[in-house]
Symmetry: C2
Subunit: 369 residues, 2 copies
Amino acid sequence: MNNQLDSLKEVLLMGPGPSCVPPAVYTALSKPTIGHLDPQFIAIMDEIKVLLQRVMQTQNRLTLPISGTGSAGMETCFVNLVETGNTVLILVNGVFGLRMADVAGRLGAQVDTLEFEWGKPVVPEQVQAQLDRKRYDIVAVVHAETSTGVCNPIEAIAALVKPSGALFLVDAVTSLGGMPVATDTWGADALYSGTQKCLSCPPGLAPVTFSERAVAKLLNRQTKVPNWYLDLSMIVNYWEGAQRAYHHTAPINMLYGLYQALYSILDEGMTSVFDRHRQSHLSLVSALEAMGMEMLVAPEYRLPMLNAVKIPDSMDDAAVRQKLLKDHRIEIGAGLGPLAGKIWRIGVMGHTARRSNIDRLIHALEAVS
Amino acid sequence: MNNQLDSLKEVLLMGPGPSCVPPAVYTALSKPTIGHLDPQFIAIMDEIKVLLQRVMQTQNRLTLPISGTGSAGMETCFVNLVETGNTVLILVNGVFGLRMADVAGRLGAQVDTLEFEWGKPVVPEQVQAQLDRKRYDIVAVVHAETSTGVCNPIEAIAALVKPSGALFLVDAVTSLGGMPVATDTWGADALYSGTQKCLSCPPGLAPVTFSERAVAKLLNRQTKVPNWYLDLSMIVNYWEGAQRAYHHTAPINMLYGLYQALYSILDEGMTSVFDRHRQSHLSLVSALEAMGMEMLVAPEYRLPMLNAVKIPDSMDDAAVRQKLLKDHRIEIGAGLGPLAGKIWRIGVMGHTARRSNIDRLIHALEAVS
């Protein structure tokens, strides 16, 4: 039996995530595993919380990585905050809004969705109208819709949700580390992300932060969180305080990777990192437009890190993606749901967001088309 | 700000897990991240399933690693198989049996526990008496109780559970890879493990296997699995079939690590690996007894990989563990619950299970005591 890892070929990751991982993070991943209660490890955990607070722009004490991928972050926020019969409003304009509705519904929430066209942003006026019609315990929205490349107007939505009394829950899986995620300024009560997008760490962890209001709701639940593994009221006892109480064994080496990824971002400087994403995005869009291609999303709502481009009639969706991968070792993403076969999703996330990578993709696209 | 990873000191891991990780697994962890739908990665996933089937001694088609640590494996088995009001019997003789009861209770099961003394095994006659008194949908037990070092008589318990009609759920977190885990021979319907014990991979994944009966119960549920992230009915669509449907982004590099860990075990040969654990255990016990120390568990119920030794009156629990860690870079485990301060838990798991490590620990114990 051959060991498949011996022949593994590196790929330039320009899809919707995972993104390319920098050498320092690979080095971190293979540092010696130590115990989850070792003082050396506790010190790293403590610093991860501080680094996450900076990148998530929050003073929230409950700020830590969940031991699962980004979707586990979504599950964590809902399972800790939803009690049976709670009213939840989900603003949907893509796959991840739909996923939120599925997650919350399984937990016994009364879920309403407010749907918007895929490729267009959530419209605050319609949110206000719905909030006027009905009282919600939780309102949830995706900041960066990975399925469409749309940036939703979180600040404007937050300004409507806060006075309504609802908790405001934000998905920042794709945005965190690539553009400002202003947790405290927005007044987000629960916000989660993933490691494999603009943090440029392999998938496997989900940073999560809860405001004091969210923590109060968690601590005043009528019933236990119906998920032992993701119960934040227990997990914090491992991540905080003088006595660290064992809950589950932390994914040690993945946490080394996240530590290094956050460290590298702050070392480069968040403003520089955001600029690098923005510049990569602008270079990519100009080059695609120069090839005669058209973007799905209007300029003012475009995400820098996830670029949805319409597939020209002259090009075959699957064939182009396969040639890019096989002949050029470049991965780009397919469309999802109603956009399947209609768009490609080109990621310039984290370590991937560099001019040289844009150039390599454009040359390859020219070669295969 | 110093990078704490630069000064990270390696530790000989002889606690209850994580265990020492072999060089080949560290190398695997830092292989280039590729996409979760890349054909190269799908091929690795396919082989992981086959390797897991061999190590778990099962033909079960639904055999795959869950994207979370061992406790996520426990959560997965219960959340997929329990429906509200189901009757569940948990056989408890340590921390992990108690945890099962907590997990199942949160999911709306009617949980009964049958409790046995910590340090002693589950008594099949008492299980039979309980099964005669009441009908259960699920009976669950821990194979290797990591909190006490006891091996429960799974084969004998299985022989009672099967005729009762209940599904039989087994925790093999600590045993898998260190002693026979005969899923099919036992007739276990759901069995889960973790990577950081005898598989000698860092923590972060939970191998899980479901029998056809368990899959039938899953597919015939009245309600959706109340946990989107761990819903096996969706996860299998990513792990099986010609068209792989994206569910959540798999933890790519951790899966490289698991692939290599399984590959290495099968390369060495499972019989040899089990022998190495057994020999390490016997060497350790003789050496401890030669120092005048006494084991908690009677010889016939001792696990090879987790050795509970009574702390002599002459030794200070915390001081000895701290000196071992600080002066000798060796980690051993403390007692939990009623055994806190009374026992140490010495692991000889996976790559740790070698004579040279036993010798190093014994010399260090002699030096600090």
